[in-house]
Amino acid sequence: MYVAVKGGERAIDAAHAWLAEERRGDPAIPELTVAQIREQMALAVNRVMAEGSLYDPDLAALAIKQARGDLIEAVFLIRAYRTTLPRFGVSRPVDTAAMAVDRRVSATFKDLPGGQVLGPTFDYTHRLLDFALAAEGEVPPAPQAPARDEPVPHVTGLLDRDGLIEGQPRDDTPAPDLTRQPLELPASRALRLQALARADEGFTLSLAYSTQRGYGRTHAFVGELRIGRVAVQVDLPELGFAVEIGEVELTECDTVNQFKGSKTEPPQFTRGYGLVMGQSERKAISMSLVDRALRWQELGEDFTGAPAQDEEFVLSHCDNIQATGFLEHIKLPHYVDFQAELELVRRMRREAVQMQEAAE
């Protein structure tokens, strides 16, 4: 028998009204604007855009405000909003070699064309709390230096020239789309990268770390990490040609990993790849390590049972909206299900007692 239960409406309305009040916090404290969040909480905004899989800093900032700073809740809001929008088209693949770099470092080569550019990084800070930030104040302008108008080629391209690293030849196989077709395994590398680009940063970080500790080790070096802006080109059917419609900030990581060779081919380095919306280097490095670990079959390596090598495990659990949806639903009313279980346990206990009595 199924019994529908009503009666929660008044409580739910009151709960949401209180949520709005708690979200605002102490009214004596000035309210945050969406623009303030966008400008001053930029890395949170970037994370929400990357995992929400929608590049729009204003919307991500609004979602963060609405979610009271709960970034997974904010990602959820962005994903829900995205489903209401029509998709007008697909961009040309972005040209990351032509990126206007804010930051570009290589852990494998000291001297390289384009140089090591640190950019606005937390690296080399002392991680001491800066109490000066607790007081409001002007920030002195950042130093400037004459920019050299020179190309900043990919580091892996330099190794590729000598055949020391696996090539990544141009290929125009249409990309599968996780948001249009359900995930099917085995997944192509393109599909895995789409899933990882929107995957939870914490989950991806932990998996990547597990490979460094030996669970699917791939001996990764950061061949190159770059952050900057790339133009987005779209073919507009009404015009009949492609135009640049905007710019997005991206973080790209190319890892150089342990060798592969065979009887016919001399050993060469292999690669892992990470590309993430916004400035998000922890995620980009993690993504490239996990990408590389997932390639064990393609590269003829052994499956050691490591979680990061297990495509089904990684792809089925990396999405924090799927995960939180299933996880958190168990707190919602399950009265009928639980009633059935309760009946079952009572009957089993009754039968157990009867059997015991019969045996005595």
Partner: protein
């Protein structure tokens, strides 16, 4: 990446891009008065799926979407303008489409001078300022003289 194209197409591609990348408020300030027009497609918000390439150069994959707004207009004189701009600002898309249409009329020199030239100069300024800050963080390695080499 893009095929060789006639100079007309290249010029139009260039101005459409400058209009699309303009900060909406700036475009509104530079193009305050809108000519008489008919909306062929009222500003509409949607997304474009942005793709990357595996390893930067290999097969394409879907990175994620970005919000865009598109619009098409026809001026009283018949010129048709199109726009597809980043973000969700309908006024931005409408102004960009109108400017595209105006650039195909006698008003082109005026729009070029009053709207496009300042937009291009400001975009170049923003880009140069970031590039200069990045250049200041470029590491200039030098080798310390070590004892055994002396």
């Amino acid at each position: 990446m893009s095929q060789p194209s006639p100079p007309e197409t290249a010029r139009r591609r260039d101005w459409i891009s400058a209009l699309a990348k303009a900060p909406p408020g700036r475009l509104a300030a530079l193009l305050p008065d809108l000519p008489a027009h008919e909306m062929l497609r009222a500003p509409e918000i949607g997304t474009v799926m942005v793709q990357g390439r595996i390893g930067g150069t290999g097969a394409p994959f879907n990175l994620g979407e970005m919000t865009v707004t598109r619009c098409s207009v026809r001026l009283a004189g018949g010129a048709v303008g199109h726009a597809c701009v980043q973000g969700r600002d309908k006024g931005h898309a409408a102004r960009a489409a109108l400017a595209d249409a105006l650039m195909q009329t006698d008003a082109a020199p005026r729009i070029e001078a009053q709207v496009l030239a300042p937009l291009r100069a400001e975009a170049a300024q923003v880009r140069a300022s970031r590039a200069a800050k990045a250049a200041a963080t470029r590491v200039e390695f030098f080798t310390m003289l070590r004892g055994e080499d002396a």
